[in-house]
């Protein structure tokens, strides 16, 4: 299938090379680099090679291998970068989570608050396996992403259901002031991570149908296209929904993520700048209103403005932002070296929400810039996929997913670095957390499926049985 060598661009409309071997070579890197990092942590902490190195290497290699084979078989034209980039982040995440498992300080903290300490890295490896499994399922069962259009309104119901789950009494769990978890057996799940994908499907389906109405049926007022009242309805509904999430689940991150994703998709669908203006206005109004009466949000804004202030630390009950910033600062340009920092001073969310601080301290500015560039590349591949997609639904879905991914990375990294108020979401792939890693593998799966469709060479025209009949045969 990889016979076409005349095209050099990675994503062309027609006749792109499959690049499966590129993907394989990159995957080798994506497995070997975390393996070296793992070795490094072991040597730094205990002076010997970590015991689980072989099993761990095999595990990560196996996951990457399975994913690659499935892509090779079922999505041969898919983007070759997304899978290796996800694997690399997932692998590095496992290493750093394992490194934080070795921290005596965190072990004692866990014993003090939960009575027992259990390492997170093995669980994360299990979650990664489930994530890859979900990825495989997407690859196997989603033959064409356009099928998803059929489930537009079902998606909407499902997404709202998922988002409301944490509010169900007995099921929802309030952890540190945010009601974004549900408890199923021994597992805690953040339904919002999954809702992110489902709602992108709804938005894409809905906007694809309504885009002309939204774009054209409007009045011009002071240079802006004002939408008609009835077209404004769904937007107001989404806005209200994000405000409700903010108020009842005190989940600033998810609320921002959904609304941001919706504005992005709306803008792409309608090509009208006025939607962006409306979006920004509405989110500003919502954010300011909620921040002024919702204490959980207000406290986070205070902590962002002056993280080192003793009164603020007293009020928030935690100095996590200050600790996170000091972790970054102590890392400096090159970092203290894996396993040799003290980012565990951050405390309970050191390996989830705040995991980037550990990269900052132990890998330094260089390491964090590399991680951010990897995230940037994932987003860039997603946008390329959207550009290359030939159907509006695929375009919208791809841009929605990659936009959401970008916003999530920005919101979390910006939060832990003190650029914006902290919101309490997880860094995709590198943070500890089952829902996050599983949902993001599914997201990569959907993007790969769209890119496979986009890059697949157009089938050669079927021989026309009439052609011969009508051919003028010259003597």
């Amino acid at each position: 299938m990889s016979s076409s060598t005349t095209h050099t661009s990675t994503i062309g409309a027609i006749g792109a090379p499959s690049r499966r071997n590129t993907e394989l070579a990159l995957l080798v890197f994506a497995v070997v680099i975390p393996l070296f990092a793992y070795m490094n942590v072991g040597l730094a902490i205990s002076g010997e090679l970590p015991p689980g190195m072989l099993g761990y290497g095999l595990g990560l290699g196996l996951l990457a291998g399975v994913a690659h084979l499935v892509v090779r078989k079922f999505a041969p034209y898919a983007d070759p970068l997304l899978l290796p980039l996800g694997t690399l982040l997932n692998g590095l995440g496992l290493v750093v989570i394992w490194r934080l498992d070795q921290s005596e300080r965190l072990q004692q903290l866990a014993k003090a608050s939960f009575g027992a300490f259990s390492p997170s890295a093995p669980k994360q490896l299990l979650y990664s396996a489930v994530g890859i499994a979900l990825f495989v399922i997407v690859m196997l069962f989603l033959k064409d992403h356009r099928v998803l259009q059929r489930y537009t309104y079902i998606s909407m119901v499902a997404a709202i259901g998922l988002l409301l789950l944490p509010l169900v009494p007995g099921l929802g769990k309030n952890i540190y002031g945010a009601k974004i978890w549900i408890q199923v057996g021994a597992f805690s799940i953040q339904p919002a991570e999954f809702a992110k994908i489902v709602i992108a499907v709804f938005f894409a389906g809905y906007l694809m149908v309504k885009r002309d109405a939204l774009a054209l049926a409007s009045r011009r007022f002071m240079g802006l296209y004002l939408p008609r009242g009835r077209d404004l309805g769904p937007i107001l509904a989404v806005w209200a929904m994000s405000i409700l999430i903010l108020v009842f689940e005190t989940d600033l991150g998810t609320s921002l993520l959904f609304f941001g994703m919706f504005v992005v998709m709306l803008y792409v669908a309608t090509e009208r700048t006025s939607w962006i203006v409306f979006g920004l206005l509405m989110s500003a109004v919502g954010a300011v209103t909620v921040a002024s009466f919702e204490p959980h949000v207000k406290v986070r804004v205070d902590a962002w403005l002056d993280p080192f202030n003793a009164d603020v630390i007293q009020a928030t009950g935690t100095d996590q932002i200050a600790q996170s910033m000091m972790a970054f600062g102590s890392g400096g340009t090159l970092g203290s070296g894996l396993g040799q920092g003290h980012s565990d001073l951050i405390g309970f969310a050191a390996n989830s929400d705040f995991i980037l601080a550990t990269y900052g301290e132990e890998l330094g500015l260089a390491g964090v810039m590399a991680i951010l560039m990897i995230y940037g590349l994932i987003v860039e591949r997603g946008v390329r996929t959207a550009l290359a997609a030939r159907d509006p639904f695929g375009k919208l879905l791809a841009i929605g997913l990659s936009g959401a991914f970008a916003i999530q990375v920005f919101v979390v990294a910006g939060g832990v670095m003190g650029l914006i108020p902290l919101t309490g979401m997880t860094m995709p792939f590198i943070a500890y957390g089952g829902s996050s890693v599983i949902a993001n593998w599914a997201l990569i799966g959907v993007l790969l499926r769209i890119s496979d469709t986009a890059r697949r060479p157009a089938p050669s025209p079927a021989p026309n049985p009439d052609a011969e009949m009508t051919q003028v045969v010259r003597p």
Partner: protein, 487 residues
């Protein structure tokens, strides 16, 4: 739909760019500020991550380190005979911080000093653990013990002893004292201990040898005598001075009184120092005037902080005063105030034939492998009096010990010079006076020790307090300890 897509791509790029910019600002521009932030526990964690280097006296460490379990700080400081040595070492507490040598030489003791950089880099390559360097002091353990034991039985006080030829500090004791081991760690109990010590009315944590200034009383008369000789007011210590008795201070009708009926009328300098005449030295001060007195006092180190390298408070000789005040200041009253270290310096300059050596108590700094990182070389600070005049003054001070108020400092077979002092203090002389004694010992090979002792004994009855009775025996024991250790 591709145009808005491209714009969204740019928007996502800007988001990543903003993160990159913020990260650079945080990890490059702000890095040092954040790494050394007061809230940052990494600094103390790093400091106590390995055993701290030791402070060494006579080749033996007077400090140690102990492993602590279950805390961020792995090792805590221990002290051998802490109360005796605390005026020398200061303390290093995980909760409270560090003072004195523990703080000043912290970078050597933790091994973070830049001068250890090459070694540290080598250790990093060979995988050796970081170690702290040592601080070798000039102190003499026997002299310190004599000083501390002597003070302990007499209540509050301080001793400073100096080697006059080099300026090396041999003893630095202060009572009541405290044991820095008791709050070296990070527990609440230790913090409470510190709080109690800090609020104690007896001020056990005050380093009286360096940080407390006392009115020096009659011991200051040696400075006045030095000024008289240096400014040629009198040249012969055995000829009569022009000293009437009673003597009314100039511009006043107040008589300056002596302690009891002592023979002070036109007494010689030698005689006046022997019996400690206020009239003679008060008149000398007033005859010389404040400028000449101030000049000599400042040459001895008054009005200046000393760094040994621990800071000592500046002793005070007033700069603005009228004639009667000058007279009072010249017998160690009015606003004259001196640290024990200052009076030891005065004595050492006289014993060293007029040359004052800069006092110091850190002989050398050692790398963890005992290589010398820095070595102190004795430095001359000033020469407050000529060799000739210094020897005249020695002669006078020896008379004080042999047949005057200081006979309790006598050591058989050794030449000892000294001066007693009983300094009034409190409003209208209401409180018990301070007992002072300054002295030096001399052998054929020179003078190995000069010492200043002050005892603030509020328990003793007023009449028993005298420099000769309370302070001289301590000075003798300290000198004897130094002489014995030289043998």
């Amino acid at each position: 739909m591709n145009k808005p897509l491209r714009r969204i791509a740019i928007f996502c790029g800007l988001l990543v760019l903003a993160l990159l910019a913020r990260d650079n600002w945080l990890q490059y521009v702000q890095a040092d500020k954040l790494a050394e932030h007061a809230m940052n526990r990494r600094v103390p964690i790093e400091r106590y991550a390995q055993p701290r280097g030791d402070i060494i006296v006579d080749g033996n460490p007077i400090t140690g380190s102990k492993k602590v379990d279950g805390d961020d700080f792995k090792y805590k400081r221990t002290y051998k005979n802490g109360p005796m040595w605390s005026p020398v070492t200061g303390f290093a507490s995980q909760r409270i911080g560090a003072t004195q040598i523990e703080s000043i030489e912290d970078r050597i003791l933790t091994g973070n000093d830049d001068r250890l950089f090459f070694r540290r880099s080598l250790d990093m390559l060979t995988g050796k653990k970081k170690e702290g360097g040592n601080v070798v002091t000039t102190l003499n353990a026997a002299a310190q013990k004599a000083a501390y034991d002597g003070l302990k039985t007499r209540g509050k006080g301080a001793v400073a002893a100096i080697d006059p030829e080099t300026g090396a500090i041999l003893a630095l004791a202060s009572t009541p004292s405290y044991d820095p081991s008791r709050f070296a760690g990070n527990t609440n109990k230790e913090a409470e201990t510190f709080g109690k010590l800090d609020k104690d009315r007896d001020k056990p944590m005050l380093n009286r040898a360096l940080r407390e200034t006392y009115p020096p009383g009659s011991t200051f008369k040696v400075v006045t005598a030095a000024a008289a000789l240096e400014h040629d007011l009198y040249t012969d210590i055995d000829s009569k001075t022009r000293s009437p008795l009673p003597w009314v201070m100039p511009d006043t009708r107040t008589e300056l009184k002596n302690e009891g009926p002592i023979p002070c009328k036109n007494a010689t300098l030698r005689e006046a120092l022997r019996v400690s005449c206020n009239t003679v030295f008060g008149k000398i001060g007033s005859d010389l005037g404040k400028d000449k007195m101030l000049e000599t006092a400042e040459k001895f180190g008054f009005n200046e902080e000393q760094f040994v390298p621990v800071r000592s408070n500046a002793s005070n000789f007033p700069k603005e005063m009228d004639k009667p005040q000058t007279a009072l200041s010249s017998i160690g009253q009015f606003e004259t105030a001196a640290t024990p270290l200052q009076m030891a310096m005065v004595t050492s300059a006289i014993a060293n034939d007029g040359t004052l050596m800069e006092p110091y108590m850190v002989r050398e700094l050692q790398a963890p492998n005992l290589d010398v990182v820095e070595k102190h070389s004795p430095k001359e600070m000033s020469s407050p009096l000529s060799k000739e005049n210094a020897q005249k003054l020695q002669d006078m001070m020896q008379t004080v010990v042999n047949e005057g108020t200081g006979t309790k400092a006598k050591i058989p077979g050794v030449t000892v010079g000294g001066k007693t002092g009983t300094a009034q203090h409190g409003l209208n002389n209401s409180k018990n006076p301070y007992a002072w004694f300054i002295s030096y010992a001399k052998t054929e090979s020179g003078s190995p020790v000069a010492v200043a002792v002050v005892v603030e004994d509020s328990a003793a009855s007023r009449d028993d307090i005298s420099g000769g009775g309370l302070a001289a025996p301590i000075a003798r024991d300290v000198m004897k300890a130094v002489l014995d250790s030289k043998k």
